[in-house]
Amino acid sequence: MKRHLVSTADLTRDDALLILDTAEELAQLSGRAVKKLPTLRGRTVVNLFFEDSTRTKTSFEVAEKRLSADVINFSAKGSSVSKGESLKDTALTLQAMGADAVVIRHHASGAPARLAQSDWLHGSVINAGDGTHEHPTQALLDAFTMRRHLNAGPGKDLAGRRVTIVGDVLHSRVARSNVHLLTTLGAEVTFVAPPTLLPIGIQNWPCEVSYDLDAVLPKTDALMMLRVQRERMNAAFFPTEREYSRRYGMNGIRMAQLPEHAIVMHPGPMVRGMEITAEVADSPRCTAVEQVANGVSIRMAVLYLLLGGATLADSPRTESVETAQ
């Protein structure tokens, strides 16, 4: 594995399976009286959140604490030089404090990549969601959840499993991370969205695209509903909330069209009434809550694999800077 987790595109099949298998082992911990391992004692992990995200931040924090890391929460708002401290100065500060890893959530796509490539800090960079780019640990926990339901067991992948991802693909970091990871694991991915919410060039992504949710449902093993923010309506991505949920929302009638074994997933937070009805969200086929629990195991696995062994953070970096073309 690389020393950073910035994009799921960087993960080989072996890397991905190692993370899933490790998470599977670590998941046992939640059933124990002492839910803690000494593994990251003495390692300092900084949660650097430029964007509010109680869910992801809490999940990382639980994972870090269960591995006995020293946890520092560093909330930062706005980072342009005009507004305050730059990302660079923040990074230099964290480096000076001896951060072994930085878990970063940032509103700007590419901020974690920038941090990872810079010589601003030496520790591992873990992307906890950047702009509309990627959210690798979310994709990993999604794959983990799918594997448990569709092809359980260590070393197993998702070969041939059909995953349908519905909603605002254009603005979704979850969708981007998932399409890389799921195809690496052998799954067949179909995006379903109104054409306005699909990125330009998606025809070259390793996935199918459909505008018709009802046509895809019977051929789906795992259905992932993405959050659709109401404010998208104002930018003319779709006419009304009602029309969106009629065409692309998940409801009880549509759920009945899914194969019996199929699961309904949601990365949260759910907008009930928009992309998903309460009937579906509260049904036993919906794995939203399970996904949250799995998130802790996945994040522990990632932290352990990046920080548990020898790391480059123990010695200064000497890598050279890449040049253009």
Binding site: V81, S86, A111, Q117, A324, Q325
Partner: protein, 434 residues
């Protein structure tokens, strides 16, 4: 005034000849010249081109002297072989009054490294609401003939029409930064395969092309001259080609970086590649090279846009747009146009000196290398190969996308009206003599 005898220079890449420069003009040109001169230069292997003219330079003064000043910017220009630059209007305060353009013009005179021809803003404060005093700027000492809101698009169709019409009175030209603002809200890079994957706000080609299409029609309608800044897409080329085929008075420029770099580089998220208009696709690059070769695109303009380190040493979204380019322009053109066989040195002289001077209506610049003409000259060594080292730049800023890249050629000497501003690759340490 120092006189020069340049031995064996290949004028426009032709057979070696000697040039005698004295009193600011070419005194004699021929083989085996037997004249006395203060300084003799062996130019064996060097190509002689007329002093380059840049239609699009950001000198940042007044306002952002931390990024560039007229002095540092014109020193960079001289190092790049330029003898005249058009200084863009988006300074602080904006160059929208006779006072500001005269100040910039005078600073250029005092620096003495190349002619600084200020560009006037089309609208007050570049705000696209009210015409600036275009006539006053023209009548000022700066004698402004090129007007541009560069950095911003004059997107109001009525305002654009009026500006095109108004400047006819003094043979002016509006240089449009073609960018439909609504289609580029939050845009961070070219919209396409790469932007979709990177999750960066897309900047569609149509946002540029729709404005160019509208503007050429407007220019035709009112019978005015239009210049299109930094063309970046294959579609823009087609529109300009069509307009020219109609006989309309439309000219266009392309930047060196759009001739070489593509949006694939954005995958690094390194803001050194963040520029407006954005780097486009390989197909666009090929179309731009071809259009420059066949003359559809009239000129190479650097869009030299210096920024202080902190505006690039950050995450992509908040980084400033722009690249420095004066000192690498000729090398990039050699690599993309000459070494590829698309353009010979005569063509380079046309696209980087004659035509831009004509578009800017500069007198005494972009003239042929012949006896009696002002001695604006660059001696260029096309055989040189070396990695670009930003630390050696004369510009105050370091935001070059070519750092560490092997580019061909380097400027050996630059002459501004017979005076060497660069000699043996070194800046002449004098100023204020123009």
């Amino acid at each position: 005034m120092t006189s020069y005898l340049i031995r064996n220079a290949q004028i426009l890449g032709g057979a070696p000849q000697d040039l005698h420069i004295a009193d600011g003009v070419f005194k004699a040109i021929g083989t085996g010249l037997a004249v006395e001169a203060d300084i003799e230069i062996d130019a064996t292997g060097l190509v002689a081109l007329p002093g380059l003219v840049d239609l699009h330079t950001h000198l940042r003064e007044p306002g952002r002297e931390d990024a560039e000043t007229v002095l540092t910017g014109t020193r960079a220009a001289a190092m790049g072989g330029f003898t005249a630059v058009h200084a863009m209007a988006n300074t602080t305060p904006v160059a929208d009054t006779a006072g500001v353009v005269e100040q910039v013009w005078r600073l250029g005179q005092e620096a003495g490294y190349c002619d600084v021809q200020p560009v006037g803003a089309v609208t007050v404060g570049l705000e696209g609401k009210q015409l600036a005093e275009l006539g006053a700027m023209h009548e000022s000492a700066a004698g402004v003939r090129v007007f541009s809101d560069d950095g911003k698009c004059v997107d109001d169709a009525v305002l654009m029409r009026r500006a095109l019409e108004y400047v006819k009175a003094f043979d002016g030209v509006v240089a449009q930064h073609a960018q439909e603002p609504r289609l580029t809200e939050g845009a961070q890079m070219n919209e396409g395969q790469v932007s979709g994957e990177l999750g960066l706000g897309g900047w569609p080609a149509v946002a540029e092309e729709s404005i160019i299409a509208r503007d050429v029609l407007l220019a035709a309608h009112v019978g005015s001259r239009l210049h299109v800044c930094h063309l970046s897409t294959a579609g823009s080329v087609e529109i300009v080609r069509w307009a020219k085929s109609k006989g309309w008075d439309v000219t266009a420029e392309v930047t060196p970086h759009h001739l070489l770099l593509t949006d694939e580089l954005v995958r690094t998220y390194d803001p050194v590649y963040k520029v407006n208009p954005p780097l486009r696709t390989a197909e666009d690059v090929q179309a731009l090279r071809k259009a420059l070769a066949d003359g559809t695109i009239d000129a190479v303009a650097t869009d030299h846009a210096p920024h202080p380190a902190e505006d690039k040493d950050c995450e992509w979204a908040v980084a400033a747009m722009g690249m420095v380019g004066l000192e690498t322009a000729l090398s990039v053109v050699q690599q993309t146009m000459v070494d590829t066989g698309l353009l010979n040195w005569e063509g380079v002289a046309d696209r980087m000196s004659h035509r831009p001077a004509r578009i800017g209506r500069l007198t005494g610049q972009g003239r042929p290398i012949s006896v009696g003409e002002p001695a604006n000259l660059v001696l260029f060594d096309p055989a040189y190969r070396g990695a670009v080292n930003p630390e050696s730049f004369a510009t105050r800023s370091r935001n070059t996308p070519y750092k560490g890249l092997d580019l061909p050629g380097r400027v050996h000497a630059t002459f501004l009206r017979g005076r060497a501003t660069v000699l043996a690759g070194e800046l002449a340490e004098q100023g204020g003599l123009a």
